[in-house]
Symmetry: C2
Subunit: 279 residues, 2 copies
């Protein structure tokens, strides 16, 4: 999917919602557990109930790998289901991969070719040659960790580093350096919502890039604050919500309840977009 | 496996060799491709031919994920084969995972419980709460990236960072900080062999920890240099070799040729151990 197609979808749906499919067998409704593939059935129901309100789904690979081959099959069925039925959806494999060049090429093959995701999250610690193999794919997007939403973000990401271009926090250095890499136009960034004050800083470095924003809702971030600081002329944000939507109920009405939560977020987003773009 | 059991194996085998199972269908002998599971058959032959010379095998998960469910099955069969036939072997899932706490817990479940690896490589960028879930497992080992062997290591890992404890290179800060985390005795570290001069520095911070060392051979690192700077009283090193051993031949003699290469490395290691420990 091209970036322009993603922007078009955001404008059509008046939504920049990503729904995180972090599916834990211990949290999904009990009545699904007797089915052959409970995780896929759960995802299918959530997707069918919310696809007009979200522009993107983001399965977190850990939750699938934890169930071994069965989990990997559920992941494959989920991405195939989305690609077949809702090709306008932007798909994100939240995998946080990254390794030396020939290994990253294998991960790129796994997620961009074999599973046919539109995008993949990657970790920056190993630098340029661990990320560039992902950037080579046309119309595929590499979403690099910049500033994450967890407490551990303060361990290293916000430390001051010195480089030829002066002293700045590591996450800014990561973003700045990555902009010099080949095909950097295929980069997006993870920026946690729990630190809305950082968005203005990041926008100085990458005014145009898309930011994937976890941490709204369960982790305490404010949607309006994030939008105020982080939105650009193309919206430029994908706001992720996982647990607050997919686990809104664990009864037989789970998909309807998920829709209600997704609708709340979409309406809040529509309001923000209307105000911002004077529609 | 306990650290002491690993040390015992190193002393018995006079080897601290890890063989990296980075298995690419395009590089393995053609005659295997007609078999039902060529990757597993390749691994089985390599393992059977080298298990007395190596203390550890390290499948890189990217190479399995690239083949989807079939690849995941090959990985599962490989780890089961090792655990069943060679329980004295220390197994490493080279996966470079790391995510927010509840997600890292799922990865830990996937690799430590479902697949039953002894250890897993993780990336440090997301800090304490992304790594501690792995450290909670008794007799399982978390091998954190410190200084990697690729060119991109110089992008961020060697930048100077400022913290309460003074100014130092990021990789040192990462190692130092991680030593304060709960159950840090379950940590090992990845330190690339291409930078032998850094080993002395790292040993000042973590004299006793095991270091997993990629980059000897194909990537140009010198075994004797690494040992001189990085070896401790328990050896404390796991030297990885992947391509130089497993792709020593792509004919029907591939396993025998792999053994010859592994034997060369083991003999070099034995010589170094004899000199060092005056055996």
């Amino acid at each position: 999917m091209t970036t322009q197609q993603l922007i078009d979808q955001i404008k059509i749906k008046k939504s920049f919602l990503t729904i995180g499919l972090d599916v834990d067998l211990e949290k999904i409704p009990h009545h699904l557990l007797t089915l052959e593939d409970p995780i896929f059935e759960f995802n299918k129901a959530i997707i069918d109930a919310t696809h007009d309100l979200a522009v993107s789904y983001k399965p977190n690979t850990a939750f699938y790998e934890a169930y071994g081959i069965k989990g990997w099959m559920s992941l494959q069925k989920t991405i195939q289901y989305i690609n077949l039925n809702y090709p306008e959806i932007f798909t994100i494999a939240d995998a946080k991969r990254g390794d030396i060049g020939n290994t990253s090429s294998m991960y790129a093959k796994a997620f961009f070719e074999d599973l046919n995701f539109d995008s993949l999250t990657v970790a920056p610690y190993m630098g340029k040659d661990s990320v560039e193999p992902f950037l080579r794919f046309n119309n595929k997007h590499t979403i690099m960790l910049a500033l994450t939403s967890n407490e551990g973000a303060f361990d290293f990401q916000t430390l001051n580093v010195s480089s030829a271009s002066g002293s700045k926090e590591l996450y800014k250095q990561v973003v700045e350096t990555s902009q010099t890499w080949e095909n950097s136009e295929n980069l997006m960034y993870v920026v946690g919502a729990t630190k809305a004050e950082y968005f203005a800083e990041i926008r100085k470095i990458i005014p145009d890039s898309f930011l994937l924003v976890p941490g709204v809702g369960t982790q305490g971030g404010s949607l309006s604050e994030v939008c105020k600081q982080g939105m650009n002329a193309n919206v430029g944000l994908l706001i992720n919500s996982s647990r607050a939507i997919i686990y809104a109920s664990n009864g037989t009405d789970f998909a309807q309840k998920a829709r209600i939560e997704a609708l709340k977020m979409q309406q809040e987003m529509e309001e923000i977009m209307n105000l911002r773009f004077n529609v």
